[in-house]
Amino acid sequence: MATMKFMCDAERCIECNGCVTACKNANEVEWGIQRRRVVTLNDGEPSEVSISVACMHCDDAPCIAVCPTETLYQRDDGIVLHDKDLCIGCGYCLYACPFGAPQFPKQNAFGERGKMDKCTFCAGGPAETKEEEYQKYGANRIAEGKLPLCAEMCSTKALLAGDAQEVADIFRQRVVQRGHKDGGWSGNPRADADSLAYDATHQG
């Protein structure tokens, strides 16, 4: 069984927000909810770098561990899904999540938050019919043999999604070639810096 993972190659991300838009479009999430976001560090400086973040479908997910209702659960392929019928909007998953993935449509007095929403890896969620599933959770592209739309639409292929082993292999190959002295990235001062995105064996 594959273990599904996202990976964002920050050296490639150009903060076009295409993934954010693709996600919104594929899943028709309600107003105010944005399952994927792009975070930019050192914004406006030469060292600016961006990374696309959503639910990372943790192996040992803290959200599942703290949920008082067992709304959150993990499929055999590692995708963390949520059951909207069980959610009471307590907010615990958000307090525990390392990535700020769970979101709530409201934030009102008496802890009225509505039902939590988060990235489903385009794998939908528990529902009786396909229509209900789409209405509650958005697309189930995994069931159709497709990968999440955010990664599929990424213009620079910074955002990768799929089996963890394959994603890791793609990234490893990139790292080796970026560091290569004949490669397109050679001579880039970034390649000489202490960056794990470049192969250390080719430095110096």
Binding site: R37, L41, A65, P68, I88, L94, Y95
Partner: protein, 353 residues
């Protein structure tokens, strides 16, 4: 045209030579500069290196941080989430069960070995007013809300291990949704009433010298000795001050959790949740002792909070100093029945801790 060319000829030749010479001399120099990694590093564009990612992982974000989510001020990594999860799930949750379970066990063992604290003498039939109607109403309202909040709170912490598997998803989803709704709406009512009750009973619960003696003699729970006590004995005062301290923390942390309208961060909520869980579990454990002593643990105590009146014998035995103050106000059961049928209200008896 040709003249002018001829005229500038030597000059041009000289310039061209100069350029060729210069490039011959300087070219190796510039090449050497490009190949010098030390020199290049000095001019290199600073990048996001491993240290920056370590900083991100620790939960920090610099001033030039931007999040594409509207209005979001989330740091990229919420570093304390996993710590909170471990403290809540691995420490607070089991500790709460241990505290409640051992308190129950202690009370059962105490009841089996020592048994009820009976009245030493016969009841006289003469009654003393101990709790006014307002006080009783307050006590039972707060008590009911406390039990509702305790049960719903326990369900939020432990319910998922029991009810979903026992009764199925349909039952569990309605039950837990109702639990959260009740807990969040009843909580503030309880908080306000508890504060009013604490204010009402502050004066009688101020510590006195004889309270220390009361504690030194274990409150007379074992044996036949009955240490001095005013309107409130040492144990009641201890319960009062636990409610005034730990209870206050429950109210404050509950308020932070229940009204996420003041820009609370995820860290604030984690702290509030831990405080709320620990303090309310302490209250629950201690309340079991309070309930035991007030019901099956002491003969003649519960009627004080149900009818408002206690027997003269009970007052003499458990609150001797208070009894000395109010013994001239005893009323017989017949007088009580008469005043009740004529609709007379309760007159509070004088009190001093």
């Amino acid at each position: 045209m040709s003249i002018s060319t001829r005229g500038t000829g030597p000059c041009r030749l000289f310039l061209m030579l100069l350029v060729v010479l210069a490039s011959l001399v300087l070219a190796p120099l510039t090449l050497a500069q490009e190949a010098d990694p030390g020199r290049e590093a000095a001019f290199a564009v600073p990048t996001v290196d491993a240290d920056v990612w370590r900083q991100v992982k620790s939960g920090e974000t610099g001033p030039n941080y931007r999040d594409s989510r509207y209005g979001s001020n989330y740091s990229l990594i919420n570093a304390s989430g996993e710590t909170w999860r471990q403290i809540r799930n691995d420490w607070i949750s089991p500790a709460g069960l241990i505290a409640l379970g051992s308190m129950l066990a202690i009370l059962v063992i105490f009841y089996l070995i020592v048994g009820r604290s009976d009245l030493d003498e016969e009841r006289t039939g003469r009654k003393l007013l101990r709790w006014t109607a307002l006080e009783r109403a307050m006590h039972w309202t707060v008590a009911t809300l406390f039990i509702v909040l305790a049960l719903t709170g326990l369900n939020l912490l432990y319910g998922k291990f029991v009810f979903r598997h026992a009764f199925g998803d349909a039952f569990w989803s309605s039950m837990i949704a109702l639990t959260k709704l009740v807990h969040n709406y009843v909580g503030p009512v309880f908080g306000i009433l508890l504060l009013l009750m604490l204010a009402k009973w502050l004066t009688v619960n101020l510590p006195r010298k004889h309270d220390w003696q009361w504690f030194k003699q274990g409150g007379g729970m074992v044996g036949n000795k009955h240490p001095d006590a005013g309107f409130a004995n040492g144990g009641e005062k201890a319960w009062y001050w636990i409610l005034a301290s730990v209870g206050l923390l429950v109210i404050v942390s509950g308020f932070v959790l229940d009204f996420p309208l003041f820009g609370q961060t995820r860290d604030n909520m984690q702290w509030a949740n831990m405080f709320h869980a620990v303090t309310s579990l302490i209250l629950m454990a201690v309340s079991l002792g309070h309930i035991y002593i007030g019901t099956i643990g002491t003969e003649g105590a519960l009627e004080g909070m149900t009818s408002g009146y206690v027997d003269e014998t009970w007052a003499k035995q458990h609150h001797n100093l208070w009894y000395e103050e109010v013994k001239d106000q005893v009323t017989s059961e017949e007088q009580l029945a008469a005043s009740r049928s004529s609709g007379q209200g309760d007159e509070p008896a004088p009190r001093s801790g």
